[in-house]
């Protein structure tokens, strides 16, 4: 095991593998690619949230013979996006269930004519009553999905919650809400597709999961595996937003390619991307918590409801992760979590960094502060009393076998942020100042990799080979979209073999070339796929020692010479490894009990805020994040992941509001959907405590999603500290602060507003 070994390349700040291409402007994103005879494609979308399609009319002023037109009837195979449940059509067939649902596709060589034509398709509907909120869906007066609107529910039970209330010293209840959030990757969704009788479908695109798209296209086109090829192009940000949507877009472009017999490019503009693609699930989470007289948790009863939108997409697995993160990093003998994902007539909500955890962490970490204030105990002390430690069990009765160092992380965070002194200073200064300052903390974990038995089902395959040109090549379907896959997997391979960083290249994420090493999601790439690359690399060295006289010690030159000897004697120089679960991982999908995740990353975040009592604007003035993510494989990339996640978390808390009007996103522009700018982000102080994880590549655990989980509760806890008012919903915009703060000053006045 190499977790504690001294390393040269792993752990070093080697430059990003594709960095130079990006800096020179020569990295090829999908919109930068031209194909001979390519036409642009466009989408005609529903303008109502729910209803039957009665007719599709074509304006006579347009010469439709010039256009390729595709509808549901043109789909050769199944009209379903293949994900978890097959409920979402690629193209609406007779009924629409949300605004901006794709109904018809058009392609034409001239993009201006194409735009005119989209507006010249007239669709008549027979409207059906829509629903837009969790509450409307729960009421079940209008059924919009299945028999009951309920897309998925889970029940997790530990101990005996119902008997715990009677003897509790304190019972504290709270309801917390989170809004939708848009990924706002700067590169919109886009693909290019080609179709031919001989070769089937080929797609190039901005996407996270080539094999998800591959699987979906097989079903849509009813083709054998070797007749669909999916190739990722350089991807300008994803954050979960290119996990499932590209399956739909790829099918659209491929249908138009089939109809037009031309390569088709479909790249959304910002308004279409914002209106039509997935967002983070809105949530409503209720906590009822019993504590003993010392402030120890006795029982937690948690009810989670998420708004899934019109189709199931990934809502069941998002709900699963929300469920498993909802009781926080605390020990409690009696826990019940009941969770439900409800259908509504909005664009389906989907994967977004954190994947249900930011919602759950917001609720529990805000609730912990509310408990602290309610029972008169310091928020830090309350957390310390209840932290998980080695040997404790989680809500799923998973025993914490690896070290849990929450106290150490908290100590560091309090020290680095000068938390106690600042809090005392602000408490003294606030009464006489128009600017109210406060400090807030959030403590949380993020489970690394797929939930429960997920990694076993994925059964990932990855490896390395040696190219005839004398490079070691990483073979994995895991994609680079800024987070550093190329660099990390290259570092792991180079280190494992003992060759230089520049001796290693990445194979393109092309289903025609690389094996299915699973999707690039769930903070799994470094830990799970990295481990496969590490094993495959070691296996290759052993192979070359046995069959090609590679010595005990060797340099790069000797390694590649041995590879060539092997090639001459045996053919292809390749080594692949399949996933093996760490020992003692048992998960009961029915009871939701057992090892929910093979490893957890842990973090304490501290926010310092200033609330202007005149403008009601909140500024995050400073931010600290201390985390344990196993071994840090590249300090520059790891720091960048934490900082970027925090900036998104700040947006989630204070800026980013998806405004729906009749189910359509009304603010579908960067002008009015606001993310933090260079002037809004505070200084962010990042500290790692490293405890190598035995079963991750060189000790790595997951890192990418963790930092997004904590900022919202840390910031709202700081606002609680600054203003004395506990806000329970995000995004918390100045107008929300104004409404609630003035309501607290005068209930009558607020009622009149």
């Amino acid at each position: 095991m190499s977790t504690n070994a001294k390393t040269r390349i792993v752990g070093a700040p080697v430059p990003r593998k594709e960095g130079v291409d990006k800096l020179l402007g020569r990295a090829r994103y999908v919109d930068d690619i031209e194909r001979e005879g390519m036409w642009p494609g466009a989408t005609v979308r529903s303008t109502i949230p729910r209803g039957f399609i009665r007719s599709i009319g074509f304006d006579r002023r347009i010469d439709w013979a010039e256009f390729a037109i595709a509808t549901a009837g043109d789909i050769p195979g199944k009209n379903h996006v293949q994900l978890i449940f097959a409920d979402q059509p690629c193209l609406a067939d007779g009924i629409v269930n949300h605004c901006d649902e794709a109904i018809l596709l058009l392609a034409h060589p001239n993009k201006h004519k194409l735009r005119e034509a989209v507006a010249a398709v007239h669709i008549e509907y027979e409207p059906l009553p829509p629903i837009f909120t969790i509450e409307e869906s729960e009421r079940q007066d209008v059924i919009v999905w299945g028999a009951d609107n309920l897309i998925k529910s889970f029940l997790l039970e530990k101990g005996d919650v119902d008997s715990a209330w009677e003897n509790a010293a304190y019972i504290v209840e709270g309801e917390y809400r989170t809004g939708a959030q848009e990924h706002l990757y700067i590169e919109n969704n886009g693909v290019i597709a080609e179709w031919s009788e001989e070769n089937g479908v080929t797609v190039w695109g901005s996407l996270q999961c080539p094999y998800y798209v591959h699987r979906s296209l097989l079903a849509v086109f009813d083709l054998p595996e070797d007749k669909v090829r999916v190739i990722q192009t350089e991807t300008g940000g994803a954050f979960g937003g290119k996990e499932d949507y590209p399956s739909t877009l790829a099918a659209h472009a491929a249908l138009l390619a089939m109809k037009s017999r031309h390569p088709i490019k479909m790249v959304y503009d910002r308004m279409e991307d914002l209106a039509a693609t997935t967002k983070r699930h809105p949530s409503r989470i209720r906590h009822r918590t019993a504590l003993d007289k010392d402030g120890k948790l006795v029982a937690m009863d948690i009810d989670i409801a998420t708004d899934a939108g019109a189709y199931s997409t990934l809502s069941s697995t998002v709900l699963s992760r929300a469920t498993l993160h909802s009781s926080g990093p605390y020990v409690c003998p009696n826990v019940r979590v009941h969770s439900s994902a409800w259908a509504t007539n909005t664009v389906p909500y989907g994967a977004f960094r954190g994947f249900g955890a930011p919602q759950a962490v917001f609720a529990i970490e805000r609730h912990m502060d509310e408990i602290a204030y309610a029972i008169g105990i310091d928020p830090i002390a309350l957390r310390r009393k209840n932290f998980l430690h080695d040997g404790d069990t989680t809500a799923t009765e998973q025993v914490m076998r690896d070290p849990v160092i929450l106290d150490q992380l908290l100590d560091r965070a309090l020290c680095e942020s000068d938390y106690h002194a600042k809090r005392a200073r602000f408490a003294t200064g606030n009464p006489t100042s128009a600017i109210k300052r406060g400090m807030g903390v959030a403590a949380f974990f993020h489970g690394s990799g797929f939930t429960g038995s997920g990694e076993r089902y994925l059964n990932s395959l990855a490896g390395v080979d040696v190219t005839p040109e004398g490079k070691l090549r990483v073979l994995a379907a895991n994609t680079e979209f800024g987070q550093g896959t190329n660099t990390i997997l290259t570092q792991i391979a180079a280190e494992s073999i003992g060759i230089g960083y520049d001796d290693v290249i990445m194979a393109p994420a092309d289903t025609g070339i690389v094996p299915n090493s699973g999707p690039t999601v769930a903070s799994r790439t470094s830990m799970v796929v990295g481990r496969l690359i590490e094993r495959a690399s070691l296996q290759l060295v052993a192979m070359l020692r046995e069959h090609a006289e590679l010595g005990e010690h060797f340099n790069s030159e000797e390694f590649f010479a041995a590879s060539e000897r092997y090639r001459t004697a045996h053919g292809e120089v390749v080594s692949l490894c399949r996933y093996e679960a760490p020992p003692n991982i048992f998960w009961d999908d029915q009871k939701y009990r057992g090892e929910a995740y093979p490893a957890y990353a842990w973090s304490i975040q501290v926010a310092q805020v200033a609330v202007d009592s005149v403008t009601y604007c909140t500024e995050v003035e400073d931010f600290w994040s201390v985390q344990e993510v196993g071994r840090v494989l590249n300090p520059v990339l790891a720091g960048g992941q934490i900082e970027g996640g925090i900036a998104q978390g700040i947006g989630y808390a204070l800026y980013e509001k998806v405004v729906l009007q009749n189910g359509h996103m009304a603010n579908n522009q960067m002008t009015n959907y606001i993310m933090p700018t260079a002037e809004d982000v505070p200084p962010i102080h990042v500290f790692f405590e490293e405890i190598p994880f035995r079963y991750g590549a060189f000790g790595a655990k997951g890192i990418g999603e963790l930092p997004h989980d904590g900022p919202a509760p840390a910031i709202l806890n700081a606002i609680r500290d600054a203003t004395g008012v506990g806000f329970r919903a995000i995004p918390l915009l100045p107008e929300d602060l104004f409404a609630q703060l003035t309501a607290c000053e005068s209930v009558e006045e607020a009622a009149a507003l």
Partner: protein, 166 residues
């Protein structure tokens, strides 16, 4: 609509260019489609994200908001012109070293904004860097490592020369 075409002349990255295009065509599209300089990116098409930032006669502009006829006779610099000498510009070196680029899609525009900033203010304060880059959105980095990169480049003696090269 495409409409009538006209011939426009300007300089891009030091080279004289003549294009036959509709006068209202966006400079962004002329750069990408007619001159095949795809380093300049479109993120929003409404001047909010700054991904399409280029320098035009010493000003930073969003090329998605510039009708190409406004560029007649102008001296334009795009990301492709930064490393014209064949070696990375000090800003590019710093972005590489300090992690200023992640997904890379905002990077060309960010580099142009940073070049512009350093050309008029070679040693900016943190507040000036934040202001100078406020028109360029990055969703990956949280900006922190971009700030570090700009500071590092400002301390690199060859930056002044690089920034003023064109």
């Amino acid at each position: 609509m495409s409409g009538s075409q006209c011939t426009l002349r300007f300089t891009v990255n030091g080279e004289n260019c003549a294009v036959q295009v509709p006068p209202m065509k966006r400079l962004l599209d002329v750069l990408r489609e007619d001159l095949h300089l795809t380093g300049t990116k479109e993120g929003c098409g409404e001047g909010e994200c700054g991904s399409c930032s280029v320098r035009m006669d010493g000003e930073l502009v969003n090329s998605c908001l510039v009708p190409v006829l406004h560029a007649e006779g102008a001296n334009i610099q795009t990301v492709e012109g930064l490393a014209a000498s064949g070696t990375l510009h000090p800003l590019q070196q710093a972005f590489l070293k300090y992690g200023g680029a992640q997904c890379g899609i905002c990077t060309p525009g960010m580099l142009m904004a940073a070049t512009q900033l350093l050309s008029i203010n070679p040693h900016p304060t943190m507040a000036e860097i934040r202001e100078g880059l406020a028109g360029n959105l990055c969703r990956c980095t949280g900006f922190i490592r971009i700030f570090e990169s700009v500071i590092a480049a400002a301390h690199n003696p060859s930056t002044d020369q690089g920034a003023h090269a064109r």
